[in-house]
């Protein structure tokens, strides 16, 4: 059964199009990485049901990255290194092989013992025990997929990370936190007033966001552990666009209390409000550089919305985007060498990337209704809001533009996604 699933998945990948569906949501993958690593994931021994569930998560995670090709494991089921016949796997074209066992411990915890083997060198690349509390089987799968990804690509995996987004159904809004694949949805806030601009604290413990529950835009900070929240900024007019400093000790926000939309700094408890832009036009969507020294932001000071950069401490504000069209929603890449943003030209919205050094803009998507990009923590994937079949959906694109993925949540429009730690 599982092997059949394997084969159908591999077969579809050859057509460069994969659908991973479940009751909760469905995911479509388009494209493939330039160098796909052929890897065989053998269903673990031990608890069959758990093994199947974990295998499903691991395979789907790796496929979604676009960097792996699944090698058929049918007819072989080694669980320990001693049971592995390397020539068999070499003949099937696998460069790496994942094996292991899974069991439920006496205390109810799921424990998976997993090994990643190099088929070419016939050595063990990694071996680890991954455990999680009862019911966290997806977390175990994500962790194993992260380890495989990291060992085979050299980059940190992001399958265990989370995302936040806003779900809109008519006039009903929900602030949602989910696994990076869209599963394991949890509602942080639900109301009949708009919610905007969720922003993760650097440690993933809090979300800042904009809520209209008091009939105007107010910024709140909410703990994801206790659900306790407090108002960060509720001045007259609009309070919006929260962005955390990398050290978590400060946020940049946008207020209109002194006139037009301007950028201010504020401590996470709402104290120390300090204005840092003085343009008199729209300055919004601040985003800190990874070293905390600079802000990128959107401003229409030049006549159309464009991306600008300024030192957080104040100083020269430099325009970063030029040419035809308008640009919005800048975000630094995790390595600080460039940024992604929403590019609008001829009535279409695209996700684009620009390098600080060359100043070259590269468009990563086909264009349409694509907004609000954010990087995965490893900088290899970008999540954004898109539209398909008359609905707002979540989508990702690899930072080289080669692999794209569309995620259809169960109902309503998905808006304003942001990739968290």
């Amino acid at each position: 059964m599982l092997l059949r699933l394997f084969r159908s998945v591999v077969g579809s990948l050859l057509l460069l199009h994969v659908s991973l569906a479940s009751a909760e949501m469905s995911i479509e993958i388009i494209g493939a990485g330039e160098h796909q690593i052929p890897v065989a994931i053998v269903p673990f021994g031990g608890d069959d049901k758990l093994a199947l569930a974990i295998n499903d998560v691991v395979v789907n995670d790796l496929l979604r990255s676009g960097l792996f090709r699944m090698v058929d494991a049918e007819g072989k089921s080694p669980h320990e290194p001693a049971e592995v016949s390397y020539p068999d796997w070499s003949a099937r074209g696998a460069e790496a092989l994942a094996i292991g066992t899974v069991a439920v411990q006496a205390n109810g915890r799921i424990e998976a013992r997993f090994r990643l083997l190099d088929v070419v060198k016939q050595t063990e690349l990694a071996g680890q025990v991954v455990s999680a509390s009862d019911g966290q089987v997806r977390a175990v799968g994500h962790r194993i997929a992260d380890l495989i990804y990291e060992k085979l690509t050299g980059d940190k995996g992001v399958f265990s990370t989370r995302i936040a987004y806003v779900n809109r159904q008519g006039k009903h809004f929900r602030l949602v936190v989910a696994d990076s694949d869209g599963y394991n949805e949890q509602t942080v806030l639900a109301q009949n007033q708009p919610i905007m601009s969720p922003a993760w604290s650097p440690d993933g413990s809090h979300l800042a966001y904009v809520s209209f529950e008091t009939d105007h835009a107010v910024v709140y900070v909410q703990s994801l552990y206790t659900n306790q929240r407090k108002m960060l900024a509720g001045f007259s007019g609009s309070n919006s666009a929260p962005a955390w400093a990398p050290n978590g000790k400060q946020l940049a926000i946008v207020l209109t209390r002194d006139g037009s939309s301007q950028i201010y700094l504020v401590r996470p408890d709402g104290s120390g409000v300090n204005r840092i832009t003085f343009s008199g036009v729209i300055d919004t969507e601040p985003n800190f550089s990874p070293d905390g020294q600079f802000l990128l932001f959107t401003s229409d000071r030049g006549g159309s919305p464009q991306i600008y950069r300024m030192p957080v401490k104040g100083g020269v504000e430099q325009r970063m985007t030029f040419g035809e069209g308008a640009n919005f929603s800048p975000r630094h890449s995790p390595d600080g060498k460039g940024f992604i943003f929403t590019h609008r030209v001829s009535g279409k919205f695209y996700i684009a990337m620009q390098d600080f050094q060359t100043g070259q803009m590269e468009i990563l998507t086909e264009g349409g209704w694509e907004k609000k990009p954010s990087f995965a923590p490893n900088g290899k994937l970008i999540m954004f809001a898109s539209e398909a079949r008359e609905r707002g959906i979540l989508a990702t694109v690899s930072s080289d533009g080669r692999v794209k993925q569309r995620m259809f949540t169960q109902s309503g429009d998905a808006r304003e996604p942001v990739w968290g730690p």
Binding site: P194, M196, S197, V210, F212, D215, H216, A217, S236, G237, S238, S240, A241, V254, T256, G259, S260, S261, I282, T284, E285, T298, D300, S304, P305, A326, F328, S329, T342, R344, G347, W369, K371, K372, R415, E416
Partner: protein, 170 residues
């Protein structure tokens, strides 16, 4: 002396009207109007009680227009809408007890945050014009819904033009 007599006569007349139709007090009220009109058409001081209609509730008054609209990515009040805003300014200056809430909106073409800022600038532009026309800042609250509360949900100019709007709410 003459005035007094006329007044007494009027009172008697009204009393007579009232007593003649005690069952229909509402219908009785306008009765004097035609009677007076027959007596003297032009210079007669109107005896009918003057009911002051709040121009805000008069559907024929310019004040019944409570929205102004904008071209794409523009936040200045357009010439066509200026008389509307100026009329509200005059009304607010003459009615210092009345308050108004300005709600700026934007179409969906832009980032959500940019559109929030744009909607706020639209509402604030109306606020400035109201204040120039004599309204006080304390009478006015301006907020923005950006693209979050679209009046029309289509992804076309017909919908977008409706959503680029500041609503004036009393």
């Amino acid at each position: 002396m003459k005035k007094l007599i006329i007044s007494i006569m009027l009172v008697n007349f009204l009393a007579a009207c009232a007593s003649q139709k005690p069952i229909e007090p509402e219908a009785a009220a306008p009765a004097p109007a035609p009677a007076v009109a027959e007596e003297a058409p032009a210079p007669e001081p109107a005896p009918a009680p003057v009911v002051e209609v709040d121009p805000l509730n008069d559907s024929n008054n310019i004040l019944s227009t409570r929205s102004v609209h904008y071209p794409f990515d523009v936040s200045a009040v357009q010439d066509a809408d200026k008389p509307v805003v100026q009329a509200h300014a005059k009304y607010l200056s003459e009615h210092p007890d009345r308050n108004v809430r300005l709600e700026g909106n934007a179409d969906e073409r832009g980032s959500n945050e940019y559109n929030l800022a744009l909607g706020q600038r639209r509402a604030d532009g109306v606020k400035k014009m109201l204040m120039l026309g004599g309204a006080k800042a304390s009478q006015i609250e301006s907020v923005s819904y950006g693209e979050e509360k679209p009046m029309a949900t289509g992804h076309n100019e017909a919908s977008w033009s409706q959503n680029r709007r500041t609503d004036i709410k009393y």
